[in-house]
């Protein structure tokens, strides 16, 4: 099936996730979609699969325009998608997951379906046990099952969203073999990925997205530097190396392994010192956020040791870390960081740890002075949810202790306007100058290169590069992020 996307637009509230995307995808090819976080790849594919609704533009299948109202129409037209987070039923068996959605009525012919499952599974070299509960399968096996299910439904177009995240290299090989076979059977395959290695190995043609637009298209053979440029754009030269000598060790992690997200974190050994500003680079879900939560004590590692200023912290919870000078700022400001329904004054009042009564006067004064100091647009009586994103971030920062030892920030400038971004970094640099360690994750490589002294690149759950910012550049980092170390 030949797919044409014409001028696709998608708005999520104010966010313009897809901004006029046009693409042609030929039948019987493996077509790769590359891009950074937030480039709009997943959104575009969800629209094609019917799971999300486009706000503008047209989709043509074999030259005929189609309008979706839900996933079922897409499926009946022969388009199926393997989502990043498997949408399956953990408490049911392999066979039941295979059948669900396909069979109707009161009498399902289980025997027939089982035969089909085993047939298909054999032909691709997968090993499926029909009566095993799905919760016992690995992510790779669950993916294989989804693939078989979609094929049994007779899909002609298969969309895979970041399929190789969190699966073993052996499973990856098996998956690639299956995809090549399907392409040779005249099926169309769309592969969404940030991993250059994978798409270069598998795809016939690549489209690169950046900030909701198409920045370039290329057929085999691939020119890696050009692709990286399309993915990440260009950036002014990084500031010169700082000559300041970092101080004592504040955080020391040795061979820390933990679970979380799709990849978890494996064997991470990192040391961070006073005054250092460390940026965590990598595509979403590569392990940076797991790192932040393990290092701040929110999650417990499965293996390894964590020390805060020479003190072993294994087994302790976030409050203990907090007492030692660690503060964590989540990216989901209203869902995780602030308390909706509480005013600014009340947030400050919560910090008071002594006494029975709330010192309202003191809290109000403190709120007032911090509002001024941090230039928050709001009054002490404003509720957290009434503030804009930028002001919520300022509020979160203002609630922190004045001299934190280490600050862990998850995507601190996400969704902020330029002025707020500038202000946040000015403020954080002030802390660094006084000796605090700042560790932050960011989706913008430019941001990391401009403010950080040091960059840790995460790929597939491990730190693949640990380098001083002045010793690296965009190309180098982009390569590492995409898995080409």
């Amino acid at each position: 099936m030949h797919i044409t996307l014409k001028d696709i637009h998608k708005h999520y509230g104010k966010v313009h996730a897809n901004d006029g995307i046009s693409m042609e995808i030929s039948e019987g090819t493996i077509h790769g979609i590359l891009g950074e976080n937030g480039a709009g790849k997943s959104t575009l594919m969800k629209i094609l699969a019917g799971y999300a609704r486009k706000t503008g533009g047209a989709i043509l299948l074999d030259g005929k325009p189609v309008e979706y109202k839900g996933p079922s129409l897409a499926t009946s037209l022969g388009i199926g998608m393997l989502y990043q987070d498997p949408l399956d039923f953990l408490s049911m068996t392999v066979l039941e997951n295979f059948m669900m959605g396909r069979i109707r009525g009161f009498f399902g012919k289980e025997g027939l379906h089982r035969k089909r499952l085993l047939e298909l599974s054999e032909s691709f070299g997968f090993h499926m046990e029909p009566h095993r509960p799905v919760r016992e399968l690995t992510v790779g096996e669950r993916q294989q099952l989804e693939l078989l299910r979609l094929l049994a439904l007779g899909v002609e177009v298969l969309i895979l969203d970041e399929p190789t995240t969190g699966i073993s290299s052996l499973q990856r090989e098996v998956l690639f073999g299956a995809l090549r076979k399907l392409a040779s059977q005249k099926k169309t395959i769309l592969l969404v990925s940030h991993k250059l290695e994978d798409v270069e190995a598998l795809c016939d043609k690549l489209t690169v997205l950046r900030e909701g637009k198409v920045t370039g298209e290329m057929a085999r053979p691939f020119d890696t530097p050009k692709l990286l440029g399309w993915m990440f754009g260009t950036v002014p030269a990084p500031p010169p190396c700082s000559t300041a000598k970092p101080g004592r060790i504040t955080l020391s992690m040795e061979k820390v392994t933990g679970s979380g997200g799709r990849t978890g974190l494996r064997d991470c050994s990192v040391t961070i010192r006073e005054g250092e500003v460390v940026g965590l680079a990598g595509l979403a879900g590569s392990g940076q956020d797991v790192f932040l939560r393990l290092a701040s004590g929110l999650n417990r590692p499965g293996r390894g040791t964590i020390r805060i200023a020479d003190r072993l912290m294994n087994g302790q919870d976030y409050h203990a870390f907090n007492a030692r000078g660690v503060t964590f700022l989540p990216t989901a400001r209203l869902e995780e960081g602030l308390i909706p329904g509480l005013t600014i004054t009340e947030h400050f009042a919560l910090q008071e740890k002594k006494g029975i009564r709330v010192p309202w006067q003191k809290a109000r004064e403190q709120a007032g002075s911090r509002i001024e100091q941090f230039r928050i647009i709001g009054k002490p009586a404003s509720t957290a949810e009434s503030l804009s994103g930028g002001n919520q971030q300022r509020l979160l920062l203002s609630l922190m202790p004045i001299h934190p030892m280490i600050l862990f920030l998850e995507n601190p400038t996400r969704g902020l306007d330029m002025e707020s971004v500038r202000w946040v970094w000015e403020h954080l640099m002030g802390y660094a100058a006084e000796g605090s360690s700042i560790v932050f994750s960011s989706a913008e490589l430019e941001e990391i290169l401009q403010v950080a002294d040091r960059v840790l690149v995460f790929y597939n759950g491990a730190v693949v590069r640990d380098v001083k910012a002045c010793d690296t550049d965009l190309d180098d980092l982009g390569r590492a992020i995409a898995g080409k170390v």
Binding site: L342, E346, A349, I356
Partner: protein, 351 residues
């Protein structure tokens, strides 16, 4: 001030909403009464006169208001922290049992005043511990507080029946009318003419004011509010949600326990199988209707008890069952739920 016109707009809208709700409830109630074959106007008249038509009636209403309000105060704590304390019924019962246990120790151990005070203390302690147990089942055992509370309600009821028919049974034949009556000194003193206990009133008002104070002026109240609104963020702010779940349950159970003791010493003067008079469950409805805040609670509780007391005459006067009061209460809460749904739909559309 640019805020004022918006504010008056909002107040006008709220008043309109409440008016629509009242009219709706009135219509549905009238319909129900008509279907049952009774004259609606008469029914409303009896409800009104039967509850506030005379001082004796008002005294009766207030006697019911006391335990209902106490339970509701307790529930404001548990709702504040985000828990569904359906176990409140059992907490009332256990409080009643503990109060009875103390009073059974008799007058040899102290003056009536002391014994009654100890009884209330015992009731608060018993109810509180029963609730804390439900809380631990949740925090340490993963048992949802709805089912934990429900199960313990029935266990409490079972314990009551066992006591009434077993160790505490009346001399002679054990009967459903409960244990032996306490001697007169152990009855809560009442105002002459009315059967209303000033001690009970004072206690309830004290608990009401105390609850309002705790929730709005203390760190505990603020912590409960923070955890109820966003437990994850509250954790990041240094609070431990599990600890506060237990504390809130403790408060809820203590208030409910005192309500139970009041039932024993101020109303029935003995332990009977239905000692709670369903005030626990009714208190849940009261707080739901008050939108989970303390401010509307006393008035709504008063209104609900008026309905209960007023409907007592209905079987005699109009040959309809007195459960009409329960129906009206339920319809009010359902209407309130519709209102909340309407409001949230409106605020989504506003974006």
């Amino acid at each position: 001030m640019p805020d004022d016109p918006k504010r008056t707009e909002r107040i006008k809208k709220s008043l309109l909403e409440v008016l629509v709700m009242l009219v709706g409830v009135l219509c549905v109630t009238t319909l129900i009464i008509l279907v049952a074959g009774a004259p609606p106007f008469e029914a409303f008249k009896y409800l009104l006169l039967g509850s506030v038509g005379s001082w004796i009636k008002i005294g009766q209403v207030l006697t019911g208001w006391i335990p209902l309000c106490l339970c509701a105060c307790g529930l404001v704590y548990s709702f504040r922290v985000g828990l569904w304390n359906i176990g409140v019924e059992g907490q009332v019962v256990i409080g009643a049992i503990c109060g009875t246990a103390v009073l059974r120790m008799g007058l040899e151990n102290g003056s009536p005043t002391l014994m009654i005070m100890l009884a209330f203390l015992g009731g608060a302690l018993g109810g509180g511990l029963w609730a804390v147990f439900t809380g631990f089942l949740k925090t340490k055992g993963g048992v949802n507080e709805i089912f934990g509370g429900l199960g313990l309600n029935f266990v409490a009821q079972g314990i009551t029946l066992w006591l009434i028919f077993g160790p505490w049974k009346r001399p002679g034949v054990a009967s459903m009318s409960g244990t032996e009556l306490f001697s007169n000194e152990l009855w809560l003193p009442t105002i002459r003419g009315l059967r209303l206990s000033p001690v009970g009133l004072a206690l309830t008002i004290a608990v009401l004011l105390g609850t309002a104070w705790v929730l709005s002026r203390t760190r505990l109240g603020l912590a409960l509010k923070g955890i109820g609104n966003n437990p994850r963020a509250a954790y990041l702010h240094g609070l431990k949600p599990n600890k506060y779940f237990i504390i809130a349950m403790g408060f809820a159970g203590a208030c409910a326990g005192m309500a139970g003791t009041f039932q024993v010493t101020g109303v029935y003067h003995r332990l009977i199988p239905s000692i709670s008079s369903n005030y626990g469950y009714l208190a849940l409805l009261v707080v739901m209707l008050a939108n989970y805040r303390i401010w509307g609670t006393p008035a709504i509780a008063f209104f609900f008890v008026c309905l209960n007391v007023g409907s007592i005459q209905l079987p005699m006067m109009l040959q309809v069952d007195s459960s009409l009061s329960g129906i009206v209460q339920g319809i009010f809460v359902l209407a309130a739920l519709l209102l909340y749904a309407w409001r949230s739909r409106r605020s989504i559309k506003a974006f």
